[in-house]
């Protein structure tokens, strides 16, 4: 399988038996149409946005390590055995595709790197199932999806501030109603 023909193709990785192709965000729709029509990936399994803020650094929500290494006096902190590979941009959008009905049932992950606030074109007209997945990516990670006809919050309330799955979103930061402090 050659992935070079995919429009906007940047690079291809193989790891853990899975193929990841990185494509340009600007030509994502063309890339997806090529994958669907030419290579048979007729099924969009999932869309996941990932936030890599603080990747390999200390002091980020969800991570207790320090760059100085392990502190033996504090049992729940530890450093890495080796620092992870740096990422090109803060956010990644991952599209998990499946060639359903083919003999080998191939899977591929399409990845697009994004900066904070950088928008990504909607793939809703390639796969209608992208509708709620893209709304979830907007709601949870704040990825602006361009061309989505109904980009509103899906899991959080309509007037919610912030995007909860971002790494800089605090845990337990929301105000508690009817508490004694009020």
């Amino acid at each position: 399988m050659t992935w070079d023909q995919v429009p906007g193709h940047v690079e291809t990785h193989d790891a853990f038996g899975e193929t990841t192709i990185v494509v340009e965000g600007s030509t994502l729709v063309e890339a997806c149409e090529h994958l669907r029509d030419e290579l048979g990936f007729n099924f969009l399994s999932d869309i996941t946005a990932t936030d890599y803020l603080g990747w390999g650094e200390p002091g980020v929500s969800g991570y207790l390590g320090t760059t100085q290494g392990r502190n033996l006096n504090d049992p729940m902190t530890q450093g890495y055995q080796r620092l992870p590979e740096p990422k090109p941009k803060r956010f990644a959008m991952n599209y998990h595709l499946l060639a359903l009905g083919r003999e080998d049932g191939r899977c591929v992950r399409v990845k697009v790197w994004l900066d904070d606030g950088e928008s990504i074109p909607s793939v809703i007209r390639v796969w209608p199932t992208a509708d709620w997945h893209e709304r979830e990516a907007w709601d949870m990670m704040g990825i602006p999806v361009e061309g989505h006809p109904n980009l509103t919050r899906i899991l959080m309330e309509d007037d919610w501030e912030g995007h909860p799955l971002r790494k800089d979103y605090p845990i337990g930061g929301e105000p508690v109603r009817f508490s004694d402090a009020e």
Binding site: F16, S45, T50, Y63, T129
Partner: protein
């Protein structure tokens, strides 16, 4: 006597609403006529299987507009899992889809194992398969019972929950808890399979096919059941694929796809089972898929039992002391075991850097788990591809121009668990 009302053919072309695939917009001429009634359904309605809210525009008794609102059960599982060490995070997936708990636990454990590259003993693999198939029957029974209840077949509920109780008893025998067992660990199983389990499970395997016969006798010749399910909630194969449907919904629409057979995990390539496919794409065919799958799952359980009985005395978990807790009795005599135990419990094990996406066939369809590790003891990102979340996207297509009374049957047939939709 066979009662077979004329089956409506699957429609021509596509019924997916064009602008937003999940929202059914009222046509302008109907909106101008003013002869519309907006009905709010849920989020606290007994037949929404949780907290689903549907806002429906009715023209007479026909559904002409639909807007689904979800998120009432959002609990932030994915965010929480980022705060836990890998081995503590295993408890969360079970609670995401609380009906198919064993399958959800499996998908996360398989993702960890894929990153770790750890070899699982064959006894654990077969026991996992056995429990997942029992869990599939459990999930289908809950679906059949509640869906029957909603359509007026109240006795279905009691019969289904009678067999469900047996499965939960088996679960309790193995893991000590009825649901949310946390029995699967990275590397294998938490405990050895208890003595007496095989015999109890055999009793269930012998009982279950007769139970399915009983359910079919109750509803399959009931004219009310047939008329309320046949030709209702149509979804064509092309639309089902475009909407990302999976599991019984996809197979009820005529697409022959099952992750267990087509991308085998565990040891599904070594067991003999049949994948039921029906082509009418209505509520009745989804019901048929569920019934056939219960029989097939029982067959798989029987094959697992045959294999497991030959594995007496084999290890049930990998012997990798960096990942797997040492046996309890060693802690008194071995300093290394004590250190390993302390390290795993306090810090957790480290999982190599990387990202994987693992899919399994859960009772509701393709459950996917995407995990990212930075090489540390906690997941960097966990995302579940919830089949219920995707199934609900088909409500607008399935409900198009159907009657309001059929809505209950249609939403029920998509077999959603709101805990999984909202995560």
């Amino acid at each position: 006597m066979t009662i077979t009302p004329a089956r409506a053919p699957i429609y021509e072309g596509s019924r997916i609403p064009s602008k937003v695939p999940t929202i059914l917009e009222v046509p302008q001429d109907l909106r101008d006529s003013g002869d519309l009634l907006q009905v709010n359904f849920g989020p606290n309605h007994p037949s929404t299987h949780g907290v689903l809210r549907l806002m429906i525009d009715l023209h007479g008794e026909t559904v002409v507009g639909l807007h689904a609102v979800i998120g009432y059960l959002h609990t932030g599982f994915e965010k929480n899992m980022e705060q836990k060490t890998w081995w503590k995070a295993i408890t969360y997936p079970e609670r995401i889809d609380y009906v198919a708990f064993q399958n959800n636990e499996l998908v996360f454990v398989l993702a960890i194992e894929k990153l770790l590259g750890i070899q699982v003993p064959r006894k654990a693999t077969w026991m996992r398969m056995l429990l997942c198939e029992l869990n599939r029957i459990h999930s289908h029974l809950v679906w059949l019972g509640t869906s029957g209840l909603e359509l007026g077949a109240i006795s279905m509920f009691w019969y289904c929950f009678r067999e469900r109780e047996q499965i939960l008893d088996l679960s309790e025998l193995v893991a000590g808890t009825r649901m949310h067992t946390r029995y699967f660990q990275a590397g294998g199983l938490a405990e050895d399979i208890p003595r007496g389990f095989y015999a109890e499970c055999r009793k269930f395997v012998e009982r279950m096919p007769h139970a399915v016969d009983e359910y079919e006798q109750l509803v399959d010749r009931s004219l009310i059941w047939l008329e309320r399910t046949q030709g209702v909630g149509l979804l064509s194969a092309e639309d089902a694929l475009a909407l990302g449907q999976s599991g019984p919904v996809l197979r009820g629409s005529g697409v022959d796809w099952d992750v267990r057979r087509d991308q085998p995990y565990l040891a599904y390539d070594e067991v003999d089972f049949h994948v039921p496919v029906y082509t009418h794409g209505d509520v009745y065919d989804r019901y048929r898929v569920h019934m056939d799958e219960m029989r097939e799952a029982t067959r798989i359980v029987a094959q697992c039992l045959d294999r497991l009985e030959q594995m007496e005395g084999e290890p049930w978990i990998a012997d990798d002391r960096k990942v797997v807790l040492p046996p309890r009795e060693e802690l008194h005599t071995s300093m290394e075991s004590l250190i390993h135990h302390f390290k795993i419990v306090t810090e957790g094990y480290r999982v190599p850097e990387g990202e994987v996406y693992v899919t399994i066939e859960s009772p509701r369809g393709e459950t996917g788990c995407y995990v990212v590790s930075d090489g540390g003891p906690k997941p960097w990102r966990v995302k579940f591809r919830a089949p219920s979340f995707v199934a609900l996207q088909a409500t607008a297509t399935c409900l198009r121009n159907s009657l309001i009374a059929d809505m209950i049957a249609i939403v029920g047939s998509l077999d959603t668990v709101m805990g999984e939709v909202d995560r």
